[in-house]
């Protein structure tokens, strides 16, 4: 890389060839405002369509203004970042964007958390000189995601996430000019598209155009209903992110305060999805060992690698994109659904509550969980195993409108029966965590020996596709890990073409795993936040007395009292599922 | 049709095809070549103008003279039909009367080729015909 001499606002500096003006300006402490631009550098995602034209700057010798996010520097370039011409252009463009944006800030789901709002404030827009027609588009309400395209500013970040990162190909620009909008093919609603509801589009949307389907009001209604026993389960990634909504630094572990808050909200019992994660390991691990031993014994029909199935976005993805391979993933339900199934049978009995009077709420870092909870196969006589799934963000809103804050709450423990968990259940929140948890248990069962060193560092990390070898006392297992659906696609195609041989693969739909889920507090492009959450997850694991799922006393008790043994008939009935070929379900309404 | 295998093939083909559009190319820049107009009204046709015209076209072609032969209506010299008007490049038009095959041959050989005047020139009492 050769160095290039440039001038920014008269200040001379040297930067590497290939640097953009935006990056170069940052080096001299100048933050050029951006809107559509997004750089998730730890995930190797850079989105710079040069569409919003907010980041324009003056480049000497150039006829028009240059978008600094995509314009690379050249030798001798002289840039001015805030001349009168630039400021007028930025403000005029901002006024234009606002002139086509509903003035619903006060009631918008993104109020106070909106990039557009902040930028309007930063640019000092106090009046919109350009008024006129506003573009309107039908609202699309899926069980997980709501699209309100009137608020879309065409930054196209969602498209990058959906097409380039997740390779779902659901969202793309349609129509022209003023009526241009981002939509699924043929302007179908999301529910009729191959959308996996991973929520990565929502996670990056700068405005309120893409938001989660909010179930907080239904939860409030259930809590207020005296005939209902309302219990809640909280996913591992929630406890390391919830604090951000209350001003705590990213990576703060707020497990105890969260439990306390939920109890004060009025939940009858506060449980842990980590418990169900341990249960998942028992079932999935058993299934894996079963397949593995049959394979090692020469059974040609056994399907390997086994793929994890606890991520609902990932399940949706392969049902649409790889239905021919749907016999490869584990049949084990996700922890959320395992929890629901056990809660409405085992727990209901223990609590002495009828199934229809037991309301199971889940708090998830995820939007696909909302869709998963609504699946037909997860209902008994129309009554869902999980009644409502709310996101980390929704929980924060719920707390804010009731008890206000969590910071000063005492640390409390989960309730008994389904509240105990091991470190293995906690690390489900990170990419590589599920497979690491599975290895901890499978190792001991397979080898009959005690695993002394529980951390499998070779399985950890942020690289998009990882592979590692785990030594099961002489048996070398090839493990594959992918996070982000685009990376999952690569792995699946590799398997389909017989190019790579794995024994087991973990896939998480969201970059970083659940800690980067579509329902988490918005990171606004700051990937340091994701790293801090991931570190917190491992820290929580380290602090646990028990770190292997099969050591969880409540799990042991559950099998003893209710399920028998892993993969028993009852376990199969309650804890396993089947997958569908949804390729044909992508249809076009006339 | 034979496939063109090299540039010579193309050039040869072009030569052979030239005739197809020669008429158009000549028509496009008539002032640079010999222009002949043949009076073709009823009186002209009756007195053999058509044959003369065919003869002129064929013979000019054979004798490699670039010329454009067009037919016009009555030239106003009915008494002297068939009449033809010949314009050599850069010269005033000249009208010949009582043109038969033999006369036409003479006009080609003497006037067109060598610029020598031939008997039978009619007085120019009209504006050139368009």
């Amino acid at each position: 890389m050769s160095l290039i001499n440039i001038k920014i606002n008269g200040k001379e500096l040297q930067v590497e060839e290939g640097t953009t003006i935006l990056q170069a300006a940052k080096k001299v402490g100048i933050e050029i405002p951006t809107l559509c631009y997004m750089n998730l550098h730890d995930l190797n995602i850079e989105h710079n369509p040069g569409g919003c034209r907010i980041c324009v700057v003056e480049v000497e010798g150039r006829r028009n203004l240059a978008p600094s996010c995509v314009t690379k520097v050249w030798e001798g370039m002289s840039v001015k970042t805030h001349t009168m011409r630039v400021l007028n252009a930025r403000r005029t463009v901002m006024e234009l964007i606002l002139s086509d944006h509903p003035f619903e800030c006060l009631t918008c789901a993104k109020n106070g958390n909106c990039d557009l709002q902040k930028l309007a404030q930063d640019l000092g827009v106090r009046e919109i000189h350009y008024q006129g027609e506003q573009s309107t588009y039908k609202e699309d309400k899926s069980p997980a995601i709501i699209r309100d395209m009137d608020k879309c500013i065409m930054c196209r970040r969602c498209e990058t996430m959906c097409n380039d990162v997740q390779t779902c190909g659901v969202l793309s620009g349609i129509n022209r000019g003023f009526t241009a909008v981002v939509a699924p093919a043929f302007e179908q609603d999301l529910i009729k598209s191959p959308c996996t509801f991973c929520g990565q589009c929502v996670a990056v949307c700068p405005t309120g155009a893409l938001t989660e389907r909010d179930y907080t009001n239904r939860v409030i209604r259930a809590l207020a209903d005296p005939t209902k026993t309302v219990i809640v389960q909280t996913a591992p990634a929630v406890r390391v992110a919830l604090g951000e909504e209350f001003g705590l630094p990213a990576g703060t572990i707020v497990t105890g305060k969260m439990v306390a808050a939920l109890r004060r909200l009025g939940f009858d019992k506060v449980y842990d999805t980590d418990f169900a994660a341990d249960l998942t390991i028992m079932e999935e691990g058993t299934e894996f060992l079963d397949r593995l031993s049959r394979y090692l014994n020469g059974d040609k029909n056994v399907k390997l690698p086994i793929l994890t199935s606890c991520c609902p976005g990932w399940v949706n993805f392969f049902e649409y994109n790889f239905p021919d391979m749907r016999d490869i993933p584990s049949t084990a339900k996700s922890p959320q659904q395992m929890f629901g199934a056990i809660a409405k049978t085992y727990l209901a009995e223990k609590l002495g509550v009828k199934r229809e009077n037991l309301v199971v709420v889940s708090v998830m870092p995820c939007l696909a969980k909302k869709y998963e909870a609504e699946r037909e196969e997860f209902r008994v006589d129309g009554n869902p195993d999980v009644d409502f799934s709310i996101s980390t963000r929704e929980l924060a809103h719920l707390i804010k409108q009731t008890i206000g804050d969590i910071k000063d709450l005492p640390d409390e423990d989960f309730d008994k029966l389904m509240g105990e968990s091991t470190g293995a259940g906690v690390i489900f929140g990170n990419t590589g965590g599920v497979i690491e948890a599975a290895c901890r248990t499978a190792y001991e069962i397979y080898t009959g020996k005690t695993l002394e060193k529980v951390e499998f560092h070779q399985l950890r990390g942020f690289e998009s596709v990882r592979s590692a070898v785990v030594d099961f006392d002489g048996l070398k297992l090839n493990i594959g890990i992918a996070h982000g659906l685009g990376n999952a696609r690569k792995l699946l195609e590799c398997i389909r073409n017989g190019e790579c041989e794995f024994h087991a693969i973990e896939i998480m739909a969201c970059p970083g795993g659940c800690i980067g889920g579509g329902g988490q507090p918005l990171h606004h492009g700051n990937t340091e936040i994701l790293k801090a959450r991931a570190a917190a997850i491992y820290k929580e694991d380290e602090g646990k007395a028990l770190r292997k799922s099969h050591e969880n006393p409540e799990i042991i008790k559950l099998y003893e009292e209710f399920l028998g043994k892993p993969s028993s008939e009852k376990a199969h009935h309650l804890l396993h599922t089947k997958y569908f070929d949804k390729k044909k379900r992508i249809y076009i309404e006339k | 049709m034979n496939k063109i295998k090299n540039l010579d093939d193309l050039r040869k083909m072009k030569q052979d095809l030239q005739n197809k559009i020669k008429l158009r190319e000549r028509g496009d820049s008539p002032e640079a070549i010999v222009q002949i107009k043949v009076g073709m009204a009823t009186s002209g046709i009756a007195s053999g103008a058509k044959e003369v015209m065919n003869y002129l076209i064929e013979e000019l072609e054979k004798r490699n003279i670039d010329a454009v032969v067009t037919q016009v209506g009555d030239m106003g010299y009915c008494y002297a039909e068939p009449t033809i008007e010949v314009t050599l490049p850069g010269k005033e038009p000249v009208v010949f009367g009582y043109v038969n095959i033999a006369k036409a041959d003479e006009i080609i050989e003497k006037y067109i080729k060598n610029g020598e005047l031939v008997e039978g020139i009619l007085p120019a009492n009209y504006q050139s015909i368009d």
Binding site: P49, G50, G51, R53, N64, L65, P67, T71, K72, N88, A89, T92, V93, L96, I97, S99, H129, Y130, G132, E133, I153, M154, R156, S172, G173, N175, R176, G177, F178, A180 | M1, I4, K5, N6, L7, L10, M13, K14, L17, Q18, K20, I21, L23, R24, R26, G27, P30, M40, A41, N54, I57, E58, E61, V68, V69, T70, Q71, V72, G73, D130
Partner: protein, 597 residues
């Protein structure tokens, strides 16, 4: 031996085809056969003659008689009178708009006098569906010369020396473009012909493709030879069925004759051409948008660099030229760079094809040397303004060009002069306006087009143009303020300054140029609520002259909204609040008692 004495060239361009020229050709053939003249006189269906307003055109060769508006029924008369008896059919001859006289042949038509046809050299001359006629006119000779006698760099040098600049709008030097593409090494490169002609009323490219497809194919192969590509793609809008058909025929014939395909002229050079269809989006004329469209992506532009010459179609080095640019290449190779650069001005060489439209007598397609003045084009070739009206403005460069006035008439037309005057060359649209045209409405009209055709990717173009349109609309409604005029100017400048591609960077030109050149008219609309051209309906006022009104009630009965009141035999009155300015009363009044203010 029978001698072909005459050719009857029948225009087979889209315009004439739609006014039944194929039927005219058929009738002519039938009549010739009926008189046993089929061997003496040949009917040839050619490409466009350019004089579209007067179509269908039949041209008689060699006497160049130019028949206009020929109907199939006229065939009999043409054959019997002209072909047999040599008497031109007077009533079908073109009438000179100024002299009101019939013009006997094309050589005497003002329309053709100042034209120099390079790109259009074969249009209206050969049968575009017959490769042999093209070969007779030197088609593929230039390619042969390049492949056998010149190195790629030598060819590029000739093009550079000729001074040829892109005819699609940008005016980028073609030779340099080729050179950049040639220098970017890659296993695969592409030559793309941009035939996505989208300016309203423009049909230069269509005419070339319909009238002389081989010139484009040949030039693409030459370009391929220069840059090291063996694959060519023509991006053509699906709304050009005739051009597509002729291109398909031409490609097939060229392959059969071996002038395209593998091992051309035995030199080892191979070149294959395919068609790609566009859905008629104006923005796809922008090369990056065009490439995305061909890749199956949304047809919207991306930021340059990277330029297509570095990373174009499928990420490979790609050279994109417009149809007309390509059509200029073979003659340059055959006749030399000096010949080409002897035509035109200092920095704009050769000729340019324009589509003349608007309030002009001779609407059609013309090819003129660079440096010709607007006056010559409009008043000589174009035959002046229709119905003897006064010239007001001419808009060059398509929908995003600027409106030039009387003061610009003697400006020699070239890339730089037009730009300096606040307009542009564009792809060669030229729309003439007369005193009846309201310049605010004109600007609004063009904005309506760009609003419709913006891809919506960048905010200034997507929203800004819409707002420009709305402000202009407000002004034409008589609701504009002086502040609006300031907003209009600021917004126009910001859109130009910040838009992503050429569409947005030039879309405010009609507004800016009319603001500059017709400021008074804007002010009139705003302060006096008056439209001097009488085009802004909302500003019209129908008023009854009380002196002249006899109270016949005809107007009141005609009024669809009951805006007119008055006693019988007493002067009537129009309620301006109710009036919808439909003009029904004005039409009905027999006493000229209603006037428009």
């Amino acid at each position: 031996m029978s001698t072909v004495k005459m050719h009857l060239l029948v225009c087979g361009g889209t315009g004439c085809v739609s006014s039944y020229s194929p039927q005219v050709a058929e009738s002519l053939i039938k009549e010739l056969e009926a008189h046993g003249l089929q061997d003496e006189c040949k009917v040839v269906k050619t490409g466009c003659f350019g004089f579209c307003e007067q179509g269908p055109i039949v041209k008689v060769i060699p006497d160049n008689t130019f028949y206009t508006k020929v109907a199939p029924e006229d065939a009999k008369e043409i054959i019997e009178e002209h072909i047999i008896k040599g008497r031109k059919v007077d009533r079908l001859l073109y009438t000179d708009p100024k002299k009101q006289e019939h013009v006997p042949d094309s050589k005497h038509m003002e329309f053709y006098k100042k034209q120099i046809r390079i790109a259009l050299r074969n249009c209206g001359f050969i049968d575009p569906e017959n490769i042999e006629e093209a070969i007779a006119r030197d088609a593929y000779s230039a390619l042969g010369k390049c492949l056998t006698e010149l190195t790629p760099q030598e060819v590029i040098d000739i093009i550079k020396k000729s001074g040829l600049r892109g005819r699609g709008g940008g005016g980028f030097p073609t030779g340099i473009k080729w050179e950049i593409a040639a220098k970017n090494a890659s296993d695969q490169k592409y030559v793309v012909c941009n035939a996505d002609e989208g300016d309203p009323g423009a049909f230069m490219d269509r005419s070339v493709l319909e009238g002389d497809p081989h010139s484009v194919l040949e030039a693409m192969a030459i370009c391929g030879y220069c840059i090291g590509a063996n694959k060519g793609l023509i991006y053509i809008r699906a709304e050009y069925p005739l051009a597509i058909k002729r291109l398909k025929i031409a490609i097939k014939q060229a392959m059969e004759y071996g002038v395209l395909g593998d091992d051309i002229f035995g030199t080892g050079f191979s070149f294959h051409i395919e068609l790609r269809y566009g859905a008629g989006a104006f923005v796809c004329g922008e090369e990056t948008a065009l490439i995305h469209s061909m890749e199956g992506q949304r047809g919207e532009p991306t930021v340059k660099p990277p330029f297509p010459a570095e990373a174009g179609y499928l990420g490979k080095p790609t050279n994109v030229n417009n149809v007309e640019t390509f059509a200029n290449v073979p003659p340059i190779i055959l006749k030399g760079a000096e010949w080409f650069s002897s035509i035109g001005t200092e920095r704009s060489k050769g000729t340019k094809v324009f589509a003349l439209a608007g309030k002009i007598n001779n609407v059609g397609l013309i090819e003129v040397p660079m440096g010709i003045t607007l006056r010559e084009v409009i008043f000589e070739i174009g035959g002046g303004i229709k119905n003897g009206k006064k010239f007001k403005a001419v808009q060059t460069g398509g929908p995003s060009g600027g409106c030039l006035t009387e003061t610009h008439l003697d400006t020699p037309i070239d890339f730089d002069n037009l730009l300096a005057a606040g307009s542009m060359m564009g792809s060669g649209g030229m729309i003439v306006m007369d005193e009846d045209d309201c310049m605010v409405s004109i600007a609004k009209f063009f904005l309506e087009f760009t609003v419709e055709e913006s891809c919506g990717k960048c905010s200034p173009c997507r929203i800004g143009n819409k707002r420009l349109y709305e402000i202009l609309d407000k002004i034409t409604q008589g609701k504009g303020t002086m502040e609006d005029l300031e907003l209009l100017r600021n917004l126009s400048e910001v859109i130009k300054d910040t838009s992503l591609c050429g569409l947005g960077q030039s879309s405010p030109n009609p507004v800016l140029s009319t603001l500059t050149n017709f400021w008074d008219e804007y002010v009139e609309h705003v302060t006096e609520k008056k439209c001097r051209a009488g085009q802004c309906t909302a500003l019209k006022k129908y008023i009854i002259d009380e002196e002249a009104c006899v109270g016949c009630t005809a107007c009141a009965r005609a009024c669809p909204v009951n805006a007119i009141s008055g006693e019988r035999k007493m002067p009537h009155n129009i309620n301006q609040d109710i009036c919808i300015k439909c003009g029904a009363c004005y039409e009905k009044c027999k006493f000229n008692a209603i006037f428009i203010k």
